[in-house]
Symmetry: C3
Subunit: 431 residues, 3 copies
């Protein structure tokens, strides 16, 4: 199985991430719009706006949140914590606040990481009206017992939630869904890496002839997939395979989390690609936590959507902290993720089922010039001949190309070559 | 999974066994009636009498056997073997005899255990008209070549076979069967332990509100279950789960013998309880030998009835000998057996199937106050939240509470708690 | 399970092979006819002739090939390679040739084995009009740069293809197919061993009363099975079990190659026999290469035909060389192959399904004199009683005799004994 080693796009993806890194994103607001605008310079995504208050299943699209500034000033008038230095300093979705508070009151709104005293944590308060600041634990320990001025110059008002969508039409109306979340502020692996790999995958598929249609969703986590599913219930039925991309730029090996079905074609194909790469990898079963696979795989949809990541969320200390920065991800890992996903898609595209048109006994391959005595034709050709025999024997309508590759141990590419030859000789027909 | 540690009833069960130990039981006769009478002081069993000669499938209820006395006297007039010392001395169901015999003739009617020269074996001759004595091998070796008077003052006459039955009605007509045999004379593990544990289980279930109905059978082995099945063929269809109890007081660990089906709910539940206890245990497949499971699991019934025991019958040297006495069983082991069976029943009672009423995407748990950010709610609550997510995700109608507990690895009790919360929030419905 | 140790026929089979060894066989021609004639002195096979040019599925029966002589003469007139010494020297199906050639031109038609310099390889050119000689590599190296006269006195003309067929009718029209190839010239393991074992198996089955009908095919490889299947499509549907026999005389242990179905009755029975013998063996999955199983197991037929061999073809150096001679095979190995195949057939014959006529509870075996207390009847009888209980319990119509033997671990023969007893007591019925 060829892991497609085309040009590396690692540096390009890394550059895109550098551009997106400073922006303060959230589940709504201008940060998301700015992000989608940058993505659209690479691929022609459509930006959708869903008004606050729209009901989507059990949920309601929240008010739009925007922020201009936020800081904590000590009694000397020094800004000791400043949103402009790092947008993780403000708890995402904090309501506006401007007041003077004692250290005691302030502390009720402060979050830090005692185990990593130099890192700033990432916190949100989407559905609880509240405010807060995140800071390093060393900063927190240095706070004196004095009065502090806290300012959060944010707005939480009726507006809309923005997401990006791109449908690349193929021969089939059946779709492959690629979904990645856009709601995280300045963190690179979670999830600028997902955004960058999805963007470059879309760029690639936009240039090739595809059998499947490909739908890309750049959406805020949870509420975004709920919105899309609620507004597109019928279209969701076209999704035959899908991947949620997240955390695909760190140094860890690939982790594939299976769909809820556990043995969907996307599960088998992804595992085949990983098994046949020379790299370490893990495959884990579905569990109802994580990112948007939670919604795609809810029992009312149960879509065959797996999750493609490197180190799993929550399993590395830098996760959801300021340490998930530009140093934490690597161009070659972004590229490796992209290449492997391309290989998965390559197999999905080719994984058709054929039927042997001469099923009673073997056809006489010799008279067609595609068979010679095994000990006379050389090792390479002998392998191809075995692949031809396997394809003929297993093409009874119940085995896809991947099934044959797995049962014969011949390798997907060799089986594909055998099929090409047999099609040319009218011995096979796609069903 | 909680092993229910209620009050210990070990001593009470041991006391009951002490009361029952001296009685000479058999498959019919007054010994059984006396036994059932003592049991009825604890639980309101009904005593049924089935007349000798009644045809039950391929069998006929035998004549009733009663015994007053039995001994062997040597030429000096000394009683060298006396039924009054130990009722195992007489072969159970021996026909009446009173005669003088030579040592040679006597020996044809004597049974001993050369490997355990101080123990008296237990022998029966239910369906062969014969007589005999059991004695220790050292006694046997000491017999001189003289004339002996043998007396068995027994009767074998038309009468009836007695068994005890108790139906504790629950909400459902579906039943759980608890069956234990009452035909063994003075032996404690086999089967006064089964009788005592069944009695105290019945006492417990008689006081609780139950979903299932519970049928207790105190019956002679083999013929008893054949009688019940023959006379209650229709009712047998209500049996959804069942356990045969035998040998549940010795020091060995629990052995569970699966039903003939091999994967019945009672099998899965019992294995779940044993796996989640901290004790050793064995689970073995069904085989057509043992106690009344042979009849319940005959192919014409194939009831989901497993066998709950400690050391399996025939696998410990004391089995079916005088060494299976009051010292061989222990109150705390009786209690451990009872507790584990209660845990099994507890799960059977709770193992319902629910359906997620909001199956499309996750419901918004936050607005119902039953969800907070995982890293903010504390470990205990985070586990409960995961259990809630598992229940929502798997409640598609195909998974019972036990299925969810096993697939999620969350533990039965936590899943139960999650279900309680979701029911309260109208997010779930029992089906 | 008894491996049937009847009289050994090892020496008889070896003698038959010695008679057949010198004959130059091919896929057509008088060598095959001579071979079939010798076989018919042992078993009444019918010799079928299929005219050249007959269309059989995608194939056409080739012209008939016969050969009288073939040699290479050096410039001194010495025959340095002579067909009369070893018929492997001529490439099988070589067209007639008579000319003088340079060493260079000659070499384009010579085949040798550099790794085994003293052995002569076996080569064919059935469907390519060509000619050639096979010789030892040491001979090849000694050839001087001079002119050589090559003579192949062969004919390739319209005629017919010959094969042998024998149908031994049993009670059932369902058939067991035994197929072996007859096209190889002077090589013993491949495939005079297959021919000899098939012959002696036919001889045996011709003398016994059989439930199944047995069809023996002595056919040229590939084209032979294609012909038979093309001309007997309807009859092929009667084949319920089958074995291709090849390479059954060498010192290696048995290799069984499963049918394409993988779990056919013949697969289970053969594996049972091998597992219960005390010898090493291998079982391998079907793959679409080898001998006539390729055709029987083509997807349009998918017959339950496995392949019974010792060392697998292509896996021993002597394969398809002059070293596969009379020293390479051993009478006791031929006999071992025959005995094991007889055991397979013995189980196929006996592997019926019975139904318990008294399925509700156990029948009272004691009153029929076929049951006593387990500890009183002796070990041998206790085992038989357990087998009886297993048969009664599992005979619900879904378990064959082999199923019961496997599930109970009782052994096929003991289960058979139990069935005999139960049939005699009218407790069982064949279905």
């Amino acid at each position: 199985m060829k892991i497609m080693k085309l040009n590396s796009f690692g540096e390009n993806m890394y550059d895109l991430i550098k551009k997106l890194y400073p922006i303060c994103r959230s589940i709504t607001g201008d940060g998301v719009r700015d992000t989608l605008k940058i993505i659209s310079t690479d691929v022609p995504i459509k930006v959708k706006e869903v008004p606050s208050g729209t009901e989507v299943f059990d949920w309601v699209v929240p008010k739009e949140w925007n922020i201009k500034n936020a800081y904590i000033e000590n009694s000397k008038g020094e800004k000791i914590v400043d949103f402009k230095n790092n947008n993780l300093h403000v708890v995402n979705y904090s309501v506006p606040v401007r007041k003077t508070v004692s250290l005691k009151e302030l502390k009720e709104h402060l979050f830090s990481l005692p185990d990593h005293p130099d890192w700033v944590p990432y916190r949100t308060t989407y559905y609880d009206k509240n405010w807060g600041f995140c800071l390093s634990h060393s900063q927190l320990l240095n706070l004196k017992d004095e009065q502090y001025t806290v300012v959060i110059d944010s707005s939480l008002e009726k507006g809309s939630l923005s997401y990006g969508e791109l449908l690349i039409k193929g021969t089939l109306t059946e779709e492959v869904l690629i979904s990645t979340h856009t709601c995280h502020p300045s963190m690179c692996n979670d999830n600028l890496s997902g955004i960058a790999v999805a963007t470059y995958l879309a760029k690639y598929l936009n240039q090739t002839e595809n059998r499947y249609s490909y739908r890309f969703l750049f959406i805020p986590g949870t509420i975004g997939s709920i919105i899309w599913l609620a507004l597109n219930e019928k279209k969701a039925k076209n999704i035959k395979h899908g991947l949620v991309l997240t955390g695909v730029g760190d140094s860890g090996s690939i982790t594939y989390k299976r769909t809820r079905r556990g043995n969907a074609e996307i599960d088998r194909v992804t595992e085949y690609v990983l098994k046949n790469s020379e790299d370490n990898y893990s495959v884990i079963d579905f569990y109802p936590f994580g990112y948007d696979e939670r919604q795609y795989c809810s029992p009312g949809f149960n879509l065959p959507v797996g999750t493609f990541m490197r180190s799993p969320h929550g399993k590395y200390p830098e996760y959801h902290t300021s340490a998930d920065n530009l140093k934490f991800i690597r161009p070659e890992k972004l590229d490796d993720s992209l290449q492997k996903i391309k290989s998965v898609i390559n197999i999905l595209e080719e994984n058709k089922t054929f039927v042997n048109l001469n099923p009673k006994c073997e056809p006489q391959l010799g008279k067609r010039g595609i068979y010679g005595a095994m000990n006379a034709v050389g090792e390479e050709k002998a392998k191809l001949q075995m692949a031809i025999l396997w394809v003929l024997n297993l093409s009874d309508g119940s085995n896809s190309l991947l099934d044959i590759a797995e049962k014969s141990n011949c390798g997907f590419d060799l089986i594909k070559d055998a099929i090409t030859i047999l099609l040319k000789n009218s011995l096979l027909k796609e069903i």
